[in-house]
Symmetry: none
Amino acid sequence: MIIVLQDGSEIPVFKQIRNQIVMGISDGRLAPGEKLPTVRGLAEEIGINSMTVNKAYQLLKQEGYIVTDRRNGVRVREEIEQTSGLTAEAEQELARLVSEAKIRGMSRNDFVALVDAYFEKGRQGK
Amino acid sequence: MIIVLQDGSEIPVFKQIRNQIVMGISDGRLAPGEKLPTVRGLAEEIGINSMTVNKAYQLLKQEGYIVTDRRNGVRVREEIEQTSGLTAEAEQELARLVSEAKIRGMSRNDFVALVDAYFEKGRQGK
Amino acid sequence: MIIVLQDGSEIPVFKQIRNQIVMGISDGRLAPGEKLPTVRGLAEEIGINSMTVNKAYQLLKQEGYIVTDRRNGVRVREEIEQTSGLTAEAEQELARLVSEAKIRGMSRNDFVALVDAYFEKGRQGK
Amino acid sequence: MIIVLQDGSEIPVFKQIRNQIVMGISDGRLAPGEKLPTVRGLAEEIGINSMTVNKAYQLLKQEGYIVTDRRNGVRVREEIEQTSGLTAEAEQELARLVSEAKIRGMSRNDFVALVDAYFEKGRQGK
DNA sequence: GTGGTCTAGACCACA
DNA sequence: GTGGTCTAGACCACG
């Protein structure tokens, strides 16, 4: 999986990495148990400080998305906890996004269509 | 409308204010043309510096949500531009939220139910 | 001639008035010697403080565009000084506008076409 | 590139900085991708507060002329969006400038000559 | 060391 | 009295 950093983004680099890995897991580009690049390897690959990659991995580990293997490798967690709900933070963000959609005249259906598109992403067959 | 700041939040104060006002406009707690508190008034009310409130108002003004006027103070804009779509930024955020929902085992229907709940907010009867 | 104020404009009201009168003179909607509304009259007409209209008239007078008549009326000056050039300030503004045009990829010809359009404005026949 | 502030100018300092940088980019004194002075560095250099420089940079960033990055500092954007037209605001200003030129007896050709002079600025040879 | 945020307090133009 | 600008100085997250 390739990680692409946006140049002048507001989002800090370590969080961009975290987000892309989360999205990779979510849409199946990263399978459960799959090995992730080493900290140093990924850092070199995208041309950033390895401390930054480390920070992203720490965050992902703390969130329960990856595990550090005893053989010194990093892997996608096999059984990610199924909470069946968003974090309080994520719910707040969603509320804000819906507000911005409404205020700009976007319909509920258009919004849901967007959600569906993202939900379908990475799903094969149907 | 009361603005409530979260203490240890990552989100800068000026952006919290901006977000809450956007949500207030979206769900009808702030009507088009309605007068907002003065820069200094709001600053005192929520116990922060007036420059910070000013920054929030500048942002809202630049985004087209409010108008500032030396005669009338600050008001919600009468005709907010209807773009009928989210910003590219907002779409990215939504994609991320959907990813996080999926990864945690949240169903499409539960997610849409949440969206609907936020969409209905502030709507009365009709 | 009707003066229309923009609601949330950056430009102060007195300067908006001044600008519109200058443009009115320039494109012939206001003839040399033509009587302008009284300060109080104009103030009432556009619903603002008469001090503000007074300020606009003072500015126009000082710039040599209007004269205050002895019979207490305000008139467009008969012989506006023909300097055949812009003020240093105006030149600076033009330089900035050209810069902004260039930076956004606007061609010299498109810019000049715009200039011509404004130059033709109010001209009758040819 | 040196930034020169006018002392008693009506134009706020942060906007003067913004204008000069835009003009610098436009006439090639600032190349795409070129590093701009740091916020604090520029502030010290021209003897103003760093918040003011920050404000100018924020404005330029929001307008899409520069990118700010904690790694790289501040740089001129590589690919400035080509809209091939002026903003509505800028068009209004141009209309006003043309009016002022006409009212002072400046010919269309003299005005266009001025425009051409500014358009040529920074162009070498070809 | 960089940009970003925030404060406390001041001054100004505008209306 | 309003928003807008600016200062001097502080702290923070990021890299």
